[in-house]
Amino acid sequence: MLIFEHSSKGRQGAPQSPVEKASISAIPENLLRKDSAALPEVSELQAVRHYTRLSQKNFSIDTEFYPLGSCTMKYNPRACNTLAMLPGFLNAHPLTPDEQNQGFLSCMYDLQSMLCEATGMAAFSLAPMAGAQGEFSGVAMIDAYHKSRGEHERKEILIPDAAHGTNPATAVMCGFKVREIPTLDNGDVDIDALKQCVGPQTAGLMLTNPSTLGVFERNIEAIAKVIHDAGGLLYYDGANLNAILGKIRPGDMGFDVIHSNLHKTFSTPHGGGGPGSGAVGVAKRLIPFLPLPTVTQEDGNYRYLTAKDCPQSIGRLSAFMGNPGVLLRAFIYMRFLGREGMVRVAEFATLNANYMMAEAKRRGFTLAIDHRRASHEFIITLKNEARDYHVSAMDFAKRLLDLGYHAPTTYFPLLVPECLLIEPTESEAKEALDGFMDALEQILHEAETNPELLHAAPQTLPVKRLDEVRAAKQLDLTYKMS
């Protein structure tokens, strides 16, 4: 039932607003609204009950194991939420004079510094509001850099075929042409192909390392050399930073720009779709181009750097500075972990992934890339099962839901057929991993003996399998109250 269907004309969720409507008759009649907006009219209890019950219809980290590959669904410490919501932060107007905003600004400055150290970059801007905006800033900086050197012909961005969709979409948004680089069967970038693609038109390469195939790009130094020799820059898509935190740093691998999805590696919640943060870090030569604002410190006083301070900046990405509430949560999380905790993240994320991969193999699954270390995630391909039993990765995914597990990422990366991209994260106990592997094994058995069970899944959730085609064809995007 929709909240609108609980509505009853004339009801009001008092006592949440001034009781009386003040006069607005001073406003010219033609600028005033004629009718009230058709919002639901419910009591506070009705709203609380409705949304509490809706919430129960979600899977989430707090209720289920959620091994969604490339998404790093690790535990979101509750303290990060509580402390980021202290009144001192919540009531801070974004344009508060810097002197009165020192508590907040000091956290931001420290966060920038910690991110620099963790990634080996020279400077960070916290302005990007999600990974995709981080990518945007990164690519825009690459553009600005080349232009600042008069190299206006560099209008091509190279992207491996395993890359996330945001990579090509971003490059195009920044006005570049995208060229795809193939991946070898062992998961590494095809360097020969790469070499054939670079040239004076090359602005840069966007790379995820470990890649979205769940393996570490072993030839990273060679790749960096190819790109740099061609005059291009190296962009690091930090979505998979969790795998290498404290073990190897993008800056040390030769990357010139990176974004870090703080809502992945640094555990800010995903909130059913966001908000996130795609903080962007750069090597020294790109510092002047960082998006605004950033925070600096002089004699223990913190202040925002703005366009006046940074005339070469690519500019602003939002009205203020990114998503401060998200940034605070990341800052708190990093202070929890400390330098020693960072390394542990990578170690246990990798341990969990490799353990599950070993278990998957033992239980008869086909790995997309065998005989390699998994990073923090790995891929099962169900192409054989699809062929033999006519069950799809989608069927496996839906059946997992019935067994109380969120499904892994399916059908990404695109180059692996019928794939499950599995990322357990470091915060999950062996118990959860084993339970999940048992469920997968059970489904494998069911696929053989009773594939209908998979096709008909899910059965135990609020709804059965939903008709996506109908959704796209008979568009119903808003409820209209009568």
């Binding site: 995903h270 908000p275 839906k398 008979q474």
Partner: protein, 468 residues
């Protein structure tokens, strides 16, 4: 080990299953000479007790001044229920609802959100959010370029009475795509843009015109007139609105004869705390015909195998994960949790509650302006109706006045000197429903005292760096 559940025994078992001797072996594909040093610049880990104390100390350092500052972020009352429910683990710690059947909570809520926003704006459809109001304007502009097939110019008219940071953000985001943002000056006496000025800049092929209502100065634009003119000339209209205020102001879907084509704005006034600048969210609505040009996620209602109502992400072929380089935008993660809060906020407040809130903002601002302009040396900069923000002209340096007010516990408003040097020493004051009569009185008294004490005159004092 913080947030790591493994026992020694489990680690041993797991390494054995993998077939390695140590944790280090798992990283043997990483070239040894590239291995990271100890991260010395990161402090040692802390317990929650210590972190908690640290954060309380930092939060306490932030000011507790009475806020009369707006300029794009507003201190509104948010019912306690809103964030208590929003931060329930099931909303807080879920991912984007890719597995629809296991995400009906988020999906249905988002469908309700889209419905509410469409109702508020009187537009046909809404997406599931953009990052914030400023970036949403940028996406609206990109969308208008894709949508207006009759126009080839990629020229967008944008009055300078539109929020300056919105204009700057739009510039950053669209500049890679050869789009021309043409500024239209506002009228110095009314603080609004006139149709004449628009026409003057709008010669030839124009793709779209942007209109903010109320505009950055809190002044009310002649939206009907301009919308009609634009449509008559095959120009799309992009509205930038404050979603709270359109509960009493004419909503963009009803501007002029046929309503605007695209409406955007910042959702912050609908349930997001100021929080030093975010997270807020950008709202983005359009006419039905433009829906396939919309960036970002959209939720649709459909049925399951049994014909039961259910919700899914739809029109995904617009998005980067399907369409890659041909997507309408690169946006992936949006502002879902704030959307959750905002939906609950709208449900609890209802249209009536929001209208009363908006009206109280207006009434409070009138009262404040009346009291402040009664002080000699303070006068209104523009004629005409203002909503909950008003530009005041001072005789003396604005930054100095604001600093003196701050010393009295009053965050007195926005210094316009950097963005609008032509206004001289002007500040913009804002009131929401949160400012009581006593608060307003306190501001007036403080202003009186500050001006009486005599701040240094405008010429002599260099403006302090401003955060814009």
């Amino acid at each position: 080990m913080p947030f790591i559940p493994h026992t020694e025994q489990e680690i041993t078992q797991m390494l054995a299953t993998i077939g390695v001797d140590s944790m280090e072996d798992l990283f043997d594909e990483i070239p040894a000479h590239l291995r990271a040093p100890e991260l010395k610049a990161i402090p040692k880990g802390m317990t929650e007790m210590e972190v908690s104390r640290l954060m309380h100390q930092r939060a306490d350092k932030n000011t507790k001044a009475l806020c009369f500052l707006g300029a794009g972020a507003y201190q509104h009352h948010i019912p306690a229920a809103v964030w208590e429910i929003t931060t329930r683990g099931e909303f807080y710690s879920a991912y984007t609802p890719y597995q629809a059947e296991a995400s009906q909570g988020t999906l249905q809520l988002t469908y309700e959100f889209q419905s509410m926003i469409a109702a508020l704006t009187a537009m046909d459809v809404s997406n599931a959010s953009m990052y914030d109001g400023a970036s949403s304007l940028a996406e609206a502009i990109l969308m208008s370029v894709r949508a207006n097939r009759k126009s080839k110019s990629r020229k967008i008219l944008i009055p300078t009475s539109v929020n300056p940071v919105y204009r700057k953000t739009a510039e950053t985001i669209v500049k890679g795509q050869q789009i021309d943002l043409v500024e239209v000056p506002y009228d110095g006496s009314t603080g609004t843009v006139t149709l004449e000025q628009i026409k003057q800049q709008g010669e030839g092929d124009i793709t779209a015109v942007v209109l903010q209502q109320p505009n950055f100065f809190g002044c009310l634009e002649a939206v009907d007139e301009i919308t009609n003119w634009a449509h008559d000339n095959n120009i799309l209209v992009i509205a930038v609105v404050n979603p709270l205020l359109i509960t009493v102001l004419n909503p963009p879907g009803q501007w002029g004869v046929s309503g605007v084509d695209i409406a955007c704005g910042d959702g912050q006034p609908l349930g997001a705390p100021m929080s030093a600048g975010g997270p807020y969210y950008g709202l983005l609505c359009c006419k039905q015909a433009l829906v396939r040009q919309m960036p970002g996620r959209i939720v649709g209602r459909t049925v399951d195998l049994d014909g039961k109502e259910g919700f899914v992400l739809t029109l995904q072929a617009r998005e980067q994960h399907i369409r890659r380089s041909k997507a309408t935008s690169n946006i992936c993660t949006n502002q879902g949790l704030v959307v959750t809060a905002s939906t609950i906020h709208m449900a609890i407040m209802g249209a009536k509650g929001l209208e009363n809130t908006a009206a109280a903002c207006f009434a409070n601002n009138n009262l404040l302006v009346e009291k402040l302009t009664a002080i000699s040396g303070v006068k209104k900069a523009f004629s005409g109706t203002h909503f909950h923000e008003t530009v005041l002209q001072l005789d003396v340096n604005a930054a100095q006045v604001l600093r003196a007010l701050m010393a009295k516990g009053i965050l007195g408003g926005f210094d316009l000197s950097e963005d609008y040097p032509e206004l001289g020493t002007a500040i913009m004051v804002c009131t929401t429903e949160m400012r009581s009569e006593a608060d307003i009185e306190a501001y007036a008294t403080a202003m009186q005292e500050v001006l009486a004490a005599g701040v240094v005159s405008a010429e002599k004092v260099p403006a302090t760096p401003e955060v814009v």
